[in-house]
Symmetry: none
Subunit: 220 residues, 2 copies
DNA sequence: GGCGCGGTGACACCACGGTGACAGCCGCTG
DNA sequence: CAGCGGCTGTCACCGTGGTGTCACCGCGCC
């Protein structure tokens, strides 16, 4: 599997590159957008791991080019901006997946593998779980074909749970991802939001509570 | 559509800028090459209308830079030199089109529109959504066969929403695309324009509000 | 039993988006 | 030139639903 890593923070770039090679991938690393485009013109990559904030040619622009060129490469966008809003922006550009920094290396590997497995091009970047679907770009979630009327926070939480794909997500992590800024550490918003989400989903135990660890999307 | 006009003859520059705005484009005007490069570093333009003979940084140089930066902007070169040879020179630098002075304003508009359409040339040149149609080139929108009398801004907003194809478009994004860059960040124009648009469309919820995320054209 | 964690329902706040009125600007026309 | 009308943008105001807090409850565990 061929992977191109585009990341201007050199230390991170090299670390990621080395790690992925250890996972058996053929990895090229470049440090800016212009170089990335050069490589893309010459080589065929399965997955492009793309930092959004790049000097010179911005990551968004690189992404747009890849999509415009109808390349078969999947794009995994990395970004420091983890708010739901910015996430939507990224996917709107045509990225196939999205990973907010800081990320767990294992998760990066898993997502790259998942992307590489995807049959072909413009797969809708939509989460599916049983009869539940969530489209981050369009901000639409459905259950059994019926549209769910979710508020932004509820949507964000559900998105995180689906992205975690069965792994439990702690309240702190949810706070950090969905509520961005420094939040009151004693807040109880998360549990309240989870409760409301459960209510709207109908089946309360679709979201499973893992004691001391958080919540995970359940195998029904 | 965002356009940057680079022309050192101030009267001409202002006239062209004004005219293009009347055509519904978001236009920035600068009078020399250095300013042009500054703007290009910050903003994303669909088309750059570039006079070839500029004081300071020459138009050719600006063009070369744009191409070198692999910007997505298309370059329309304006010049007093109309011989075939020089024309070839211009295109050789990477310009996408070429218009000898003096030119017909209508033709300028037509060429800009053509350039803006080019990257996604395979795309249909007219948007359709349910009983709504919008033709960007001819600036005509209809609903259920009846022509809609839209102002330029309203038209621009609707065009953006249709181009986003169901994805929500934030107020900031609309501001950037439909209005020019010097936009007051606290302005409320967008919501007012949306309101007027909704009024003219008849069905207010054809444009759906997605809280915190923007507006989307919406079935569903 | 007491403690800690998570679920529950109620409540209050306020930020966001909708609304209507108005004013400046500009081009057109007489 | 004055007068007019259409397009834009601003502002003040309102209603509402999204959001966060709190008190309380229920349950399982040491």
């Amino acid at each position: 599997m061929r992977v191109l890593v585009v990341e201007d923070f050199e230390v991170l770039a090299r670390t990621v590159g080395k790690g992925l090679r250890r996972e058996g991938m053929a990895v090229d690393v470049v440090l800016d957008g212009a170089d990335a485009l050069d490589r893309l013109a010459v080589n065929r990559y399965d997955v492009v791991v793309l930092d959004r904030d790049l000097p010179g040619v911005h990551g968004d622009e690189v992404c747009r080019r890849i999509v415009a060129a109808r390349s078969s490469s999947r794009v995994l966008m990395l970004t420091a901006a983890s708010t739901v809003k910015q996430r939507v922006d990224g996917l709107g550009l045509g990225a196939d997946d999205y990973l907010p920094k800081p990320f767990d290396f294992e998760e990066l590997v898993a997502r790259i593998r998942a992307l590489a497995r995807r049959p072909s091009s413009a797969l809708p970047s939509v989460y599916e779980h049983a009869d539940l679907t969530l489209d981050p770009a369009r901000r639409v979630a459905t259950r059994g074909g019926r549209r769910l009327e979710l508020t932004p926070k509820e949507f964000g939480v559900l998105e995180c749970l689906l992205a975690a794909d069965g792994r439990p997500v702690s309240a702190e992590e949810l706070l950090e991802r969905v509520w961005d800024e420094a939040a009151d550490p004693f807040t109880t918003v998360v549990k309240t939001t989870i409760r409301r989400l459960r209510g709207k989903l109908g089946t309360p135990d679709l979201i499973h509570t893992v004691r001391e660890a958080g919540y995970r999307i359940g195998a029904l």
